[in-house]
Symmetry: C2
Subunit: 668 residues, 2 copies
């Protein structure tokens, strides 16, 4: 039974009777004590509940000091969450059109970004975002950019953290499936995207499943990031052909392991499924062996080799497997068993592998790996990839429990690993210099905190960087079951905030946050003061895609409508509280309409929407923003365009009429 | 400066020194007091902050006891929020495709609902949701259905609260613009949708703006709801032609006013804008007069008259304005000034109008209105609609402040009105029987609580029903400015939770909730125990759209692939942790694929996703759900289909291959 607070109020009153030197502050406090204790008593809160409430509560206007960027899984977006309050501050539209943000609903600029990410002529209107990755300088988050991958279509997006907008989506020409992405190298020269389900390389390439061993392949892609332009440079990016295992999560080396890339794999059994034909289903066929292969890739060397030995697959420069072997770009090390996460320690000394069907985490030594590679090995996988000796490269194994998935780090020499089947977070000590520095027994389990329920990834403050912050950890639980009100058969996920500020065995859950807008997989938490977002756009007429004032931006008084000879009507509008100029736009059915809109606002939060009823168009014009639309006025009639954002007391009057006059030669 | 809690810990310690009869409970409490006080002190929390934190905090597993359904504005969805924790439990996809819910991303069932709501052949992929309306029985929320309107396209959606899914979207044939919807009559026989921006009636009808007075019209539509079927019956629904004023919010009478519909209007000036031609912009032109017209509609009588005098406009039965006048279905009463909300008191005795450019709320008496209508009037508007005398129908006016928008009620005889320009919530007393019952001075302002910033609508517990619950009120603020971390130029809204449980002048803000997933306009709050959601679907193979087991639902062992002579490949699959059956699906390029999927799961929260990489398809299969997809396999190659929901430790192995063999006669 839970201890409650029945008697504190009485005690506080008794304390007042002490008649000790009474300052106003004391009387206020005593009164408060009684009042607060009464509320806690009435609500049946335990002492731990009260502590948790006071640690996470943010009074009105108090700004969260940590920001979490979480994927939203098959919602296709990014979630921005404040810590410690665990409040969803906003979403960032990425792969899925989102009308509130004016993303992909008629706006020319955003629709071009989405179109660029379309595959084989197919227009894609969603993605399966998995792993966000903040840009780094010397292995430390710098708060400038965010990258995220789309597992369902093998794409990577670039988000600019000045305006929290997606600027670029690149489609991988090699495959339709990825998982090991996005992960950046310590100075963000490269964005890593690793494959998942093997297939013939080159989107659109067919081969019978019976030829799996010969013609199906895995891959990894290294996207070259141009920080100055804030875009991925596809021409300078390249892929590597890998054996047809199923590559999984990856991490970039840093410090001692700088230049190396670590990537997990599973299904080295090369099971091809076919349960309908009496074969074992993938879940069984892909889980027969005790060991899979940790991929160790020399990216530094690969970036040179690709100049000599790169070939084009579906137009994309790729290093053939044989070349990688001959040039020593690729080594394997055995890893237990169907692993998920591989996570490099802050200093880069170790890579920690969580084998989801093995109760241990396995710690690989960078130093030992480099030595083993130098010594060479005669062991090879069926494709000729050299396989290092397990004992030669493993530093330690720590038994944590059932279903270890993913590991993060803090500032106290601890590692934290999610245990899916145990539904717990394990805290354990690192060895080597970490143990020495913090005077802890190396490589040992310290404590486990149960979470509700079945944790996937976890995220600690800058917990995958070279400078983990400690303090907070978020358990990203896949099942919530009974934690929240039942919202029908589809339930939210459950993000639980853990307080990891105290060393040792104390690691309480403070807060449950339902995630009912998607299914996040991974997240990163950054100190809020590292982010330097714009409050308004730098200039009136700012085009967020070009990063400058648009040539078609319009000044007050220069609004105009021009009918061109070629049946195009071009409109230059301004937008300001509380009217559009012009308010009447008359066209003929079949005209092509090009419409430029410029927000004249300079006040923070003075956002206007712009929609055209019936025409499936909606924009969000943030202060100073320029945007444009192009459409054919194929529907005759009278249509309102109005501000979809409640901007002022006269917001409902912020409207105009689009008059589309029917013509006999409609649609010309 | 804020008083903090420096001395409480010391006092609690001193209290312990009292050596009073010590029970374990007391010692725990004392220790707790000190610990909690220390946290509050360290974080600089005021006594009010601590009280607010303890009132709103929900320990893990504690279920919110009130549920708020909020629109999401131009995000096009519904938000489900728990009170008092102010946590977003989930969104409900309505007008905008949402892949996490499998809504409108390849799923046949949901795409048919969205297609049904398309306008004039235009496929719409968003909406501007404004006013959710819970189904009622005798004027009280019954928790069965939720209705919501789309202002941008004049549509209404029906949501079933057993599975929180949208079941129907109806497009209004009369117009592309609405605002006064959705509002239900006390037994949900009718769903009211009122117009907004006047236009020629009938989507696609054109008339020059110069003929505004003659050919532009307002309207209201009454959608007939068939509760047994859980659908709107379009055939039994009808519209009414109204003068070309801009109709705004509406409310259905109840109790004394049962059978009447009240609807606001603005721009009775009939301003047509044209600022670009030197005319006053709408914001000025539509705000010249001191009085607009409160529309009083006799729905009960209209439902009879329509049988005799209804005409078809764009195929939709509509009562012409002249018929409404002749049959006495429509009366006006003057109302100040550019009003927004009209809200009927719990007993139906009064309709309260908030004129956003007038500092008063104006209270109309139902009794006086009925008497005035019986007496008749010689005053008419320019279209011949009888105009009742202001003084004959107004009971009282209460001066509240600047920018009153919308009013709700509680269980203590209070009304609450949002003040946009004052950025405050006003509490004031009702008169008549309410004042007598609660012993309060009638029609008088009690207090105002400032909110941050610029409140639009507000929502109190069941605060627009016949049985308001009191306790909580949410201020739906349009601007947040400095309340949260700056997430770029696009900032969230701010929902603030107010504690209205104490009578009199105490009405504190307890919590700020950022809304960064849309721009909600209105919300309703229902007692959670009134909702009876399903935890899983009633039977395996349940089709959420037909409400029964689907004929194509598949049992374990009966999975199959059938190639028909007409180039159609039909697949019956089962879905269960952790595999799909079949795992191999081989088709020829150009084949039409019809794919039936049945979830065999019966465990709560055991949801599976189903996506096909590169094919822009994603489903969410909740426990027991049947869903289907149809597509042409126009892209050759090897594509993975996999579970997009992290369902088990072997979730990554829950995958299969779609093999599309290239053919020379592709796309046949």
């Amino acid at each position: 039974m839970r201890p409650t607070l029945r008697s504190t109020a009485a005690l506080a009153a008794a304390a007042a009777l002490l008649g000790c030197p009474a300052e106003p502050g004391q009387r206020v406090s005593t009164g408060l004590g009684a009042k607060a204790d009464q509320i806690a008593y009435d609500r049946g809160l335990t002492p731990d509940d009260v502590a948790a409430a006071l640690k996470t509560y943010m009074p009105s206007g108090r700004i969260d000091d940590h920001i979490m960027f979480a994927s939203s899984g098959h919602a296709g977006q990014v979630l921005v969450i404040g810590l410690p309050s665990m409040r969803l501050l906003r979403t960032i539209a990425v792969f899925t059109p989102e009308p509130w943000q004016g993303w992909g609903v008629g706006g020319k600029e955003s629709m071009e970004v989405l179109a660029h990410g379309s595959a084989g002529g197919k227009h894609l209107t969603w993605g399966d975002t998995h792993h966000p990755s903040l840009s780094e300088t010397n292995g430390v988050y710098d708060g400038e950019f965010l990258f995220i991958g789309d597992k369902a279509n093998a794409r990577v997006a670039v988000i600019d953290l000045r305006d929290f907008e997606t600027k670029q989506i690149v489609k991988n020409p090699l495959a339709t499936s990825d998982h090991g992405g996005a992960f950046v190298t310590p100075n963000t020269e490269w964005v890593v995207e690793g494959g998942q389900y093997a297939a013939p390389l080159g989107v659109g390439t067919y081969a019978p499943i019976e030829e799996y061993d010969q013609r199906y392949r895995g891959y990894v892609t290294f996207w070259k990031f141009d920080r100055k332009k804030g875009r991925i440079d596809v021409e300078r990016s390249f892929g590597m052909e890998l054996p047809p295992y199923w590559q999984d999560l990856a991490d970039a080396g840093k410090g001692e392991s700088d230049g190396l890339i670590f990537m997990n794999s599973f299904n080295v059994e090369r099971a091809t499924g076919g349960v309908e034909s009496g074969n074992p289903p993938f879940e069984a066929g892909a889980s027969q062996r005790d060991m899979d292969y940790l991929h160790i890739i020399d990216l530094k060397k690969a970036a040179e080799v690709v100049q000599r030995r790169g070939v084009k697959i579906n137009g994309f420069t790729t290093i053939p497997l044989q070349a990688s072997i001959e040039e020593g770009l690729l080594h394997f090390a055995p890893e237990p068993k169907s692993p998920h996460g591989v996570d490099v320690t802050p200093g880069g000394e170790y890579a920690i592998v969580s084998g989801k069907l093995d109760p241990h985490v396995t710690i690989y030594s960078t130093k030992k790996i480099r030595e083993a590679i130098a010594r060479g090995t005669s062991n090879k996988d069926p494709y000729g990839v050299p396989v290092l000796d397990f004992d030669a490269v493993v530093e330690a194994q720590v038994e944590l429990g059932l279903g270890p998935l993913h590991t993060q780090f803090d500032d106290k020499g601890y590692a934290y690993t999610s245990l899916f089947l145990d539904t717990a977070v394990a805290r354990w000590t690192l060895g080597g210099e970490y143990a020495k520095k913090h005077g802890q027994a190396p490589w040992s389990l310290v404590t486990k905190t149960p979470v509700q329920y079945n944790i996937g990834h976890l995220a600690a403050v800058e917990g995958d960087s070279a400078s983990p912050g400690g303090g907070w950890l978020v358990a990203m639980n896949k099942w919530s079951i009974d934690r929240f009100f039942t919202t029908g058969p589809l339930l939210p996920q459950n993000f639980q905030l853990l307080d990891i500020s105290e060393p040792g065995e104390t690691m309480p859950v403070l807060y449950d946050m339902p995630i009912g807008v998607g299914e996040p997989h991974y997240a990163q938490i950054i100190r809020a003061d590292k982010l330097k977002p714009w409050e308004v756009y730098p200039e009136v007429g700012w085009n967020p895609m070009t990063g400058q004032r648009d040539p078609n931006a319009t000044e007050k008084g220069k609004e105009r409508i021009v009918r061109r000879d070629d049946g195009v009507v071009e409109i230059w509008s301004t937008v300001v509280r509380s009217h559009f100029t012009p308010e009447h736009v008359k066209v003929r059915q079949g005209d092509r309409v090009i419409w430029h809109l410029t927000s004249l606002e300079r006040a923070r939060d003075a956002t206007h929407g712009f929609c055209i009823g019936g025409y499936n168009i909606n924009l969000s014009l943030e202060p100073g923003e320029y945007a444009s639309i192009e459409f054919v006025a194929d529907q005759p009639g009278v249509f309102q365009f109005y501000c979809t954002e409640f901007c002022s007391a006269l917001h409902l009057e912020m409207v105009g009429y689009l008059l589309v006059e029917p013509t006999t030669d409609a649609g010309k």
